[in-house]
Amino acid sequence: MSRLALTAEQHVDAPPAAVFALFGAGTGAGWLFDAVCDRVALGAVVTLQAPMFGMAAGPVEILGRISAVRSPSRIEIRHDQPWRGRLRVHVDPDGSGTRVRLIADLDDAGLHWLMRRRGFSVPDGGVEGTHPVGLLTSKSGSASVFASATENLAAMAVEEINAEGGIRGRPVRLIVGDDATDPRLGTIEAWRLVHAGCRAIMASTTSATFTRAAHELRGADVLMVQPVMNEGGMGGGLRVQLGERPESQLRAAAAPIMEVAGGRRWFLAGNDYVWPQVVHSAARRVLADHGGTVVGEGFAPLGTRDFAPLIENVLRSGADIVLSSFVGADLVHFERQCHAMGVRERCRSLALALDEPTRERIGDDAASGMWGVSGYFEQLPGDINEAFLRRYRAAYGAFAPPVSSISESVYEALHLYAIAARRATDDDAVSTARELHTSHMAFPRGMVSVVGPETMQQRLFLAEATPGGFLVSRAG
């Protein structure tokens, strides 16, 4: 893989300390120096809002963390979205002023992402002699926050599958598509994966993308798997939905959260698409069973950045608990604004999609009082999980994004797919799908059993956000 280093340079009539202090201060000093981060410190997460395709298109969020910092001269950022790379900022004395240099590494994957986004065709390369599998993920848009580690873990699973001999004597080749958290673009990318020869697609996206792509690709002979938590209802034929279901998550979390909150009044708030809608209808059933009441509900479209009107409704409702069904960057912004507007003093928050990549971007202070519930957190005990995390860190380094149920589920889905494809009587999608319906394996989250096209049996865990991570306990 080739790697380019791009540089930019500027002289500033001010001392280095003044230039350095600008970083992360939010003073309107351009997209790089206006980096959003709670601390300029080693390991702190950073979001850069780069106006990559003109102002009209909205910024592209570069998600990373500070991998080196030396005041007042050096800042290094390792980023994972929309591609993996490194940005180095050098601040050096230059006469009576300062010389600022920016050095950016760009590899083939980054170059190809940019070229595709600009509408250029980038050949996917030949797939002869391989077993091509697609990964549809979100490298940009709101969902890129929870998808930070997804591609890493898919690549790790493929490496392990290939070390075991691949599928029917052929190595698996992973071809990646980016839905940009947009169902329409997701469908176009899914077709690209099909035309590149993919036998199956792991769609680790929002359900908004999965449902549309799964429907529009109905004529294609391709197995589509949704590994991440979802509402179900589309499984059958060549469609398999794994992941946690809202009803199970809510049944596991409702009673303990009400006990912690010391109240039973809930406000339901989420993004306006199929998964949050199903979460809320399930919540009305589950909460009624547990003696809870719903005192308000509100939705906001994916990509919303100002939640103030909705949060005012939350405050007026007198709720004890907010069920937050936002995802990715929307969840980050909603929760940070809840914290800033005083919601935390009155309410606890349960967010079914709360995972570590999202929690760390909400920040330690704003995430305090939040709870998540899912089948996997990094903190889970067990040899399998320990060895898994060790391999992940060895492959991707200390600054790679944390693993979550959402990213780990793709790792599992690829392994389950490989087992099913090897076991299938015929080397085709229908036969593989049938085998997938009865697969099971011990994973980092524990034993997982697939039962039919849309049921995955697994343990669930409750997680309370604490500074630096989660306090995890077995649910139920």
Binding site: L6, P15, A18, G26, R118, G119
Partner: protein, 114 residues
Amino acid sequence: MAADEAFDALADPVRREILTLLAQNDECSAGELSDRINRVGRTAVSSHLRVLRTAGLIAERRNGRFRYYSVDATGPAQDVIQLLQELFQGSLDAAKAAVETGAADADGSIRRAM
């Protein structure tokens, strides 16, 4: 190729579909493209092809009274590298402007914002 022009050219779903078809096939005639795009008529496809060609995203080859289209392979990598270069330079220019117009206090300290 003008960056904004290319972006505008891609904003339309039909034009994206045309590019996808061209990416899958080395070359297509205008008629073949129209046959495979059902949501708009032949005239609309022609005007979309004109927009894509003006934006430098596709190349046109004439053979008698037929026109054939393909994805323009010249310079896409150069295009995105230049785009990034401008993006990076722009960020440093903005930082310079902010410092030199006094966003920073004399002692180098800056009020941290959320």
